[in-house]
């Protein structure tokens, strides 16, 4: 058994190494192919040279094409060139533009693929995450071979495989106030494809300081939202939402889900708005917000306020400058910590580890196990003999807990033991369970203890085959 385990981990390691090398080689191949294409296009003899002026670096001019598109580009983008409302002017503007997509996740995946395909001249990708199995259902730019590898590497390889002729910048790092001004300043248009409030405020503020249009998309559950901010005197994110939304005390334990195609739809629309801005075609979604409701199959576009003269960032008397930006604490402002540090609400005597709980089960110690996750989480997986009362309903359904405790108590009356059963509380990651224990202790359940780290700790430390999600 041991030896086998060792062998397979060796194989997994080698596989990972080979996959990484494979992607590097593929990247190199596409770069070289692109280079070769450029050189052959440049040296190709051409009848169209008529004015005696030719530059080897711009093959299109040799063909006498004023719009600057090479023959390959004409063929590649022909369906866009044939579009009367788009045409060569829009295409050559697009080829000269640069776009930064922040986040290579559910929104960024389709946005990046379309932006690469349609011929944005330079495409930047920034993300600090690695590809995980539970990303695959919505982050369609990534393939299984890249699980465990940086999303930026994976996304860049996919974009290059679609279009090897555009320039792709890889930023494998988190966007912070310390690097945002420098990175965003290198691009014409910014696409917000992130997934959290502090990033949204930070990106919007940075775009105001740099005067960049921001194509902002968001998706959660069955709904999506889309707006173009800071464009042509239009509002910024803060004009609309000067006060950040309150985050419930334990965001991380009640992470809501999303149906993969919902961010997909919004990400595609982000690509579309970006293309419109870059090519100066159509009417951008500025001072308007598109609302997508997947369940009812409804799309609504509502007019939203214009720029607010009182906005602390883009308003008339704003004193928000680059220095203030660099010092601004967005996680504190939004009360949304990005580094998922666990809560620590309880004294150690009110808590037990998952290993300790396993011993309690083995000793068949009398207890009640309360699972405070939402019921649809409970349906995915749960520990045996647990009682599910979601944290949000705990107060209202406290009598269910009281009778569960009483049952265990009564069971032992005959033996003459009158001690209360112990009460343990579990959730997904060990934050909600602490809030529940705090409440329960205040409500007279003096023995309530939380299981540190929740079911994730159980899976890591006790039972590796216990499903995580």
């Amino acid at each position: 058994m041991e030896a086998n385990g060792g062998d397979s981990s060796e194989i997994v390691r080698e596989l990972e190494a080979l996959k990484l090398r494979k992607s590097e080689i593929e990247h190199r191949i596409s770069t070289l192919e692109a280079k070769l294409q450029e050189t052959t296009a440049a040296v190709e003899p051409c009848d169209a040279v008529s004015n005696g002026y030719s530059s080897p670096s711009s093959p299109a001019i040799e063909h006498g094409l004023e719009h600057g598109l090479s023959p390959d580009q004409i063929y590649r983008y022909s369906r866009q060139l044939l579009l009367p409302s788009f045409g060569v002017e829009a295409q050559s503007s697009l080829l000269k533009s640069s776009v930064l997509v922040i986040g290579a996740g559910g929104l960024g995946s389709p946005a990046l693929l379309y932006l690469a395909a349609c011929g944005v001249g330079r495409l930047g990708i920034i993300d600090h995450d690695v590809v995980e199995l539970n990303n695959m259902h919505r982050q369609i730019i990534h393939t299984e071979a890249f699980i465990g590898h940086p999303k930026v590497k994976s996304a860049a390889a996919a974009c290059r495989s679609v279009n090897s002729t555009i320039k792709i910048d890889e930023h494998v790092e988190a966007l912070r106030t310390s690097n945002a001004l420098e990175i965003l300043s290198q691009y014409d248009i910014i696409v917000d494809a992130t997934d959290n409030p502090p990033s949204r405020y930070m990106i919007s503020d940075c775009c105001v300081l740099l005067g960049k249009p921001l194509v902002s998309g968001a998706a959660l559950g069955m709904e999506g939202q889309l707006t173009v901010y800071n464009h042509n005197g239009g509002p910024c994110y803060r004009c609309l939402f000067p006060t950040p939304p309150p985050t419930t005390a334990c965001q991380r334990c009640s992470d809501s889900g999303v149906l993969g195609v919902v961010p997909g739809v919004i990400g595609c629309l982000q690509a579309l708005e970006t293309i419109k801005l870059a090519s100066m075609v159509g009417e951008p979604l500025s001072e308007r917000m598109l609302l997508f409701d997947a369940l009812s199959a409804r799309v609504r576009v509502v007019k939203i306020r214009g720029r607010s003269a009182q906005c602390v960032v883009c308003g008339d008397n704003s004193s928000f400058k680059k220095q203030q930006f660099k010092n601004f604490d967005y996680e504190d402002f939004t009360q949304f910590p990005l580094t998922a540090g666990p809560l620590n609400l309880l004294p150690t005597e009110s808590r037990i580890s998952s290993k300790e709980f396993k011993e309690i089960l083995q000793k068949k110690e009398r207890h009640v196990l309360l699972d405070v996750r939402p019921s649809h989480h409970y349906k995915i997986v749960s520990l045996p003999d647990s009682l599910n009362i979601p944290l949000a309903n705990l107060e209202a359904r406290i009598n269910e807990l009281t009778s569960a405790v009483k049952e265990k108590e009564d069971g032992h009356v005959n033996t003459g033991s009158f001690t209360n059963p112990s009460l343990y509380v579990v959730c997904r990651r060990g934050n909600d369970s602490q809030i529940a224990v705090q409440y329960l202790r205040e409500s007279g359940f003096d023995s309530a203890k939380d299981i540190i780290g929740g079911l994730e700790a159980w899976a890591t430390d006790v039972n590796p085959s216990f499903p995580t999600y």
Binding site: G103, G105, G106, L107, G108, A193, T194, D195, N196, P197, R200, G217, A218, A219, L220, G221, E223, G224, Q225, L240, F241, T243, P244, P245, P246, S256, V258, P263, E287, M289, L291, D293, L295, S296, R300, V301, V302, K303, I304, R305, G306
Partner: protein, 100 residues
């Protein structure tokens, strides 16, 4: 799809003598907190959108959570707290979402 039943909750205020009925569209967290995508709200005529919000928070106290951070749209147009609602107006309450 016929099966999609629109859940319309009717909320009436005490004064029905001269009142207007508006349709309230709830999005994102506001929908989660109330449990409905839309509802009919009866308010005294001459009520402002702010008054409508007050009424809603009375009926759904949990809505207080998002009140300070919503975009309001009246008949798909930008509106302010002091705008007067008319019979059959459509008031959209749109909290931001930030997922992706």
């Amino acid at each position: 799809m016929d099966a999609t039943k629109q859940e319309v909750t009717k909320i009436e205020s005490d004064d029905t003598s001269s009142s207007v009925e508006i349709k309230v569209l709830l999005f994102a967290r506001a929908r989660e907190l109330t449990g409905v995508p839309d509802l009919i709200l009866k308010v005294p005529s001459g009520s402002t959108t702010q008054k409508c919000m007050d009424e809603l928070v009375v009926k759904f106290p949990s809505l207080e959570e998002v009140r300070s951070c919503v975009v309001l749209a009246l008949n798909e147009e930008y509106t302010t707290d002091s705008a007067i609602v008319k019979h059959r107006d459509e008031l959209a309450i749109i909290p931001p979402i930030s997922g992706g």
